[in-house]
């Protein structure tokens, strides 16, 4: 297990949280109901908070590594913001699901549900990681994720069951997003040795619980998932969809336009 693989793994966890938090925050001020605008903004805040923990940890690891092997040689002491604002898309390790555009409210809550169902199982297992920092972040975040899962699952059921229109929209969202769920369970190169040594979660062990939860909620929502559909992947290795580049261009604009400033 190299230093680089643990760093990649931490970034993977952090990038998932940041990118989805950012996407959710695009809704702030534009939600369908005031109370739900607040709820989704809360989830955005939780996820950005998690991302910060991971980036702070990753930057400590990188700063401790010796100079030659350090990524981002231009930055003397790495910070959470260097990691968020000064990496290009190919350095991001998030799964493709989280970078997908918000679309309508139904697509947003379905994306959240698939992700939270995964994160819930992942953090449940990661609490027992041999890496005490990762275990602590997971333990701290699990309560938040439990709420995200309940909230998003309820919305998926509500909209799948609600009206003909909402049902059709949810089918459409399922058609858009299902193909990005497979990647959640495909370990990246950096993940495999870490899973063997008990630092990372072995994704095969959490898959059945995820399948069960997703199956229950989709059934209650009256939605049918397609079997045997082709699954897209690549995000965890830095090969993203076109959506991420635009997200980063917007998010990183100030740091890129005025480098080296305090904000």
């Amino acid at each position: 297990m190299s230093d680089q693989s643990i760093i990649d793994y931490i970034l993977h966890l952090g990038d998932n949280a940041l990118v989805l938090g950012h996407r959710n925050s695009e809704w702030t001020g534009h939600g369908p109901i005031l109370e739900q605008d607040i709820a989704l903004s809360n989830i955005a805040l939780d996820l950005i908070g998690q991302a910060r923990y991971y980036y702070q940890y990753a930057s400590r690891c990188i700063n401790a590594a010796d100079g030659a092997s350090r990524p981002f040689p231009g930055h003397e002491a790495l910070t959470e913001d260097v990691l968020a604002y000064h990496r290009d898309a190919w350095d991001f390790r998030n799964c493709l699901l989280v970078e997908q555009s918000n679309g309508h409210w139904g697509k947003t809550v379905l994306r959240q549900f698939f992700f939270s169902a995964w994160q819930f199982e992942l953090y449940g297992a990661l609490r027992h990681s041999r890496d005490s920092q990762l275990a602590a972040i997971a333990a701290k975040s699990l309560k938040e994720v439990t709420y995200h899962l309940r909230w998003s699952g309820e919305w998926v059921i509500r909209l799948g069951d609600g009206t003909e229109e909402s049902h059709t929209r949810m089918e459409e969202a399922l058609g858009d997003l299902w193909k990005y769920t497979g990647e959640l369970f495909v370990p990246a190169d950096y993940e495999k040795p870490l899973a063997l040594s008990g630092v990372a979660v072995d994704l095969a062990t959490i898959r059945p619980a995820w399948e069960l939860k997703v199956g229950e909620v989709l059934e209650a929502a009256g939605l049918e998932r397609k079997e045997g559909e082709w699954m897209q992947k690549g995000g965890k290795q830095g090969k993203h969809t076109e959506a991420l580049g635009y997200l980063l261009a917007e998010m990183q604009f100030l740091q890129r336009a005025y480098p080296g400033c305090e904000w």
């Binding site: 001020g29 369908p32 109370e35 309508h104 409210w105 229109e165 100030l254 305090e262």
Partner: protein, 322 residues
Amino acid sequence: MSTFVQITVLMSSAIETGFQEKIDQDIRIEPRDWMPEAYRKTLIRQISQHAHSEIVGMLPEANWITRAPTLKRKATLIAKVQDEAGHGLYLYSSAETLGVSREEMIDQLHQGKAKYSSIFNYPTLTWADMGAIGWLVDGAAIMNQVPLCRASYGPYARAMVRICREESFHQRQGFEILLVLSKGNEAQRRMCQDAIDRWWWPSVMMFGPNDDASPHTAQSMRWKIKRFTNDELRQRFVDVCAGQVKLLGMHLPDPDLVWNEARQHYDFGPIDWNEFREVINGNGPCNKERLAARVKAHADGAWVREAALAHAQKNSIREKAA
């Protein structure tokens, strides 16, 4: 006049006198208490305008959430905009105690019949605007709102206590954004001054017309819905900001701003009331965009609200059947 009508008039004027006595003794009016129709109407207008301002006010700042320069700033800004949504909620609820529904109020906003604070019809062009809005706009809002914590109508006063606590937090955060910029490089200092230049006069206008042009003030003060006049509050705001801007090493865009030893206040230059009226009448830089964004969010959310209702109804039928 018939005896019956005479008695009714006498009775209602006795009730009205009792109402004013309660106000004079600083006894809070609660939703089930008798109140004059004009008092109720004035409150509904004022509280709903205030609620709409909170909601429309989310938009100019939400603009910069996706472009906030650090993760910490991003989180703080999301939390701030979320607070404003919460303020809107408390205020809609307190207006609802006066017998008007949130839907009615929102419809009035969307149809252009209800007003909201004109300040939100100005654009947010740089990151420094997040600082200037916090410092000046939330700052002016606090000046206006702190006295309302003692407003005569209970639900309104209680909502304001909670809101003011959060607004002063926003104001400090905004000032701190500017303080960091003011210590930054050339471009950042330029950003900082530019934002102050653009937000200063609209903020000064937030206190409304001069007292001699403010017809409702006297009655609102008798009812203790208002505690100070527009000009008194405006003067207080100018005095505070004129001191604070020095800490930034910046200046307010008013060549006439000068300390008046005799008055123990700052004198300041003439306000462009023409601009004020134009923005109120829909000709501000972003009036159309702000309202359109609210209407769009509401229209796009219609199917979501309908589905939530339909699901709840199906559920209760299913529960009864079970």
